[in-house]
Point group: C2
């Protein structure tokens, strides 16, 4: 089920087959460098979120060039694929509760440092039993809900109860807190975002202090994303930030503004869907070859990069309808689309084609594509 | 990059790993039988659209059990994967205009009957040159735009010019018309849908007559989908119908009603996303393990099958938020979700798990998953 790759290394960009994902390596490296510098300058660890790119190659750039301490991912299957590809420090920043998945996670911890989030007392017992059985240690972060309304227990006493249970159980190590305010990341307005994150910081600080007072110090206080990391970074509370989308950016993140009404930290779009015109039977529209199966439109339509004369209007399964009011597009013309939402868009592709100076420089498999289990 | 399968044949359904796609084989077979009977009773050919399921196994059931004459797909890569898996009659119901793709299509036509749609005169010349080079014959359908506003030339003279060019060129055979009204398929109201399809029928009939008068008879007059096939089927104009979604159905197609305000032809939901609760830290919501990477939400959120007490509210990358007002859900509880839109949902999965009588009976690879090129 692996498919023909859209490019080979050394090929001129004009010859890349479409539709596919291309990575502008210069912009990508500037994003990696920019965040790496920030983390170094502020004495923070960056645990890069690999759910964005699902690529072991990109994770290695984030670690070796950007100074990241390791990666996060969301599924045991992603963790397995990344460890298989050489990664050695992986947090599953999510709950793992199904018995088979717990057994796989415990086995994986014999091959790499593996951390996982918990928000349920019974789950702590299950993780402990599996780790003992596998002869491994699972480091556990207690997840608190700091406003995202998703996973995680309430900050405060519930977190202490979980931490104590973890510390008491064999095969487990209490490693700290997961306190990610996911809902705030895409809030456009800087002031509104700041208010949400301030609440998250306050709740996290209170919980860290409570744990400390109970003899359960947090080695890791984790969270933050591309939309908010400078806030958690300046808090004095968080010490391990989990930015992922910053490497690629997308149309939706470009709408999230900093205090000067600029895109956050001036990260650049480095990920594009390369598409070609495949029907031009009408003067005012063109049909391109990238539709719903080449991207996710959950956060809106993609933007056409570097063009104000044409616009991506709508997507059907295999087609995109491009408004072409000037009738300038021709068959086989190529466009670069900025995906509406990078993470689920990467997940429908098998390859990332790295380009620089008009040539294909890298061809990276999407290592953990489709790793749902 | 092939991942662990979520099930093995013979396994009780309770042991299937999540999230994954399950097919209720009884409902699936009833759908196949129902459409097969309709086609037989009306003297029509069914060319099953494989873009829905991308599965050679399902295509073979549609052909062997349902009487389909062959399959359609939308990409050369899909056609290659299906021919590789044993299919022998494949229409790429789409334009193929990139030189590399044309060469692959012409080569494929040495191994199977291959048909393709055209809406550009220059493309006819390119297809001809490639077929001559490969020593194959490409059967071409002229695509007319009968209201979908996507690919295809205007009905009438433009179609005649294309047909004549095809007939004149070596390596090609003029096979008829592609006249698919895609926009009408999901129109909820029966009367409104009927009006759109009637226009498509009228325009197609006129074009068929014009071609006939020019000595270019149409062996194939193709189109129709799950939302409208009984209208094209009764037209006396169309003779090859391309229904695809009927095998699975989805939440959106369930909202499309027939003249008696019932779901179209009473096809049943046979495709489900099996998901499990992975966080239950709050009384009124549960978090399940199927988010944006386990489905496409372009046509809305999935429905929870057979349950009125819980509701799938929203999706983030790897999570679904389930309203659980009665606090009835527990960790590892399973739900069956009816996808909002079946085609792009299947495209993010590697496997279809066929179930019957509480056991896994079939494990089908999604043969052409991700075949974008």
């Amino acid at each position: 089920m692996a498919h023909t790759s859209p490019a080979t290394v050394g090929m001129p960009v004009e010859e890349i087959d479409t539709p596919c994902l291309v990575v502008d390596l210069d912009a990508f490296e500037r994003n990696v460098d920019k965040l790496g510098r920030y983390m170094r300058d502020h004495g923070l660890r960056h645990r890069a979120h690999a759910k964005t790119h699902k690529s072991a190659d990109i994770a290695k750039v984030q670690i070796e060039r950007g100074g990241a301490c390791g990666v996060c991912c969301q599924k045991v299957g992603e963790a397995e694929a990344l460890v298989e590809a050489g990664l050695r420090d992986v947090l599953v920043s999510n709950q793992v509760v199904a018995p088979k998945k717990i057994a796989r996670l415990a086995a994986l911890a014999t091959r790499a440092r593996v951390l996982v989030c918990v928000d349920d007392l019974g789950n702590v017992d299950d993780l402990s039993a599996a780790a003992v059985e596998a002869g491994s240690t699972l480091e556990c972060l207690v997840e608190i809900d700091v406003g995202a309304g998703r996973c995680g227990v309430a900050p405060g006493e519930a977190a202490v109860a979980l931490a104590r249970r973890i510390a008491d159980r064999p095969g487990l190590a209490f490693a700290g807190l997961q306190a990610y305010q996911g809902r705030a990341q895409h809030v456009r307005d800087h002031g509104e975002r700041r208010a949400l994150i301030q609440t998250a910081i306050d709740e996290t600080k209170r919980t860290v202090a409570l744990l400390e007072a109970e003899g359960l110090p947090c080695a890791i206080v984790a969270g933050a994303g591309t939309g908010s990391f400078e806030m958690e970074g300046a808090s004095g509370v968080y010490n391990e930030l989990q930015c992922g989308s910053y490497v690629f950016m997308d149309a939706d993140y470009q709408r999230v503004r900093d205090s000067g009404d600029r895109p956050i930290s001036e990260f650049e779009n480095s990920l594009f869907i390369l598409t070609a015109v495949m029907s031009k039977a009408k003067p005012d529209i063109a049909i391109c070859d990238a539709g719903l199966k080449a991207q996710s439109v959950d956060s809106g339509m993609p933007l056409v990069f570097g063009r104000s004369d044409v616009e991506y209007l709508k997507a059907s399964d295999e087609h995109g309808v491009i408004a072409d009011p000037g009738n300038v597009l021709r068959l086989n013309d190529r466009l670069r689309l900025i995906p509406g939402h990078c993470d689920p868009t990467v997940n429908v592709h098998d390859w990332l084609v790295g380009v620089r100076d008009g040539r294909v420089e890298a061809l990276w498999p999407v290592t953990a594509r489709g790793a749902l289990l």
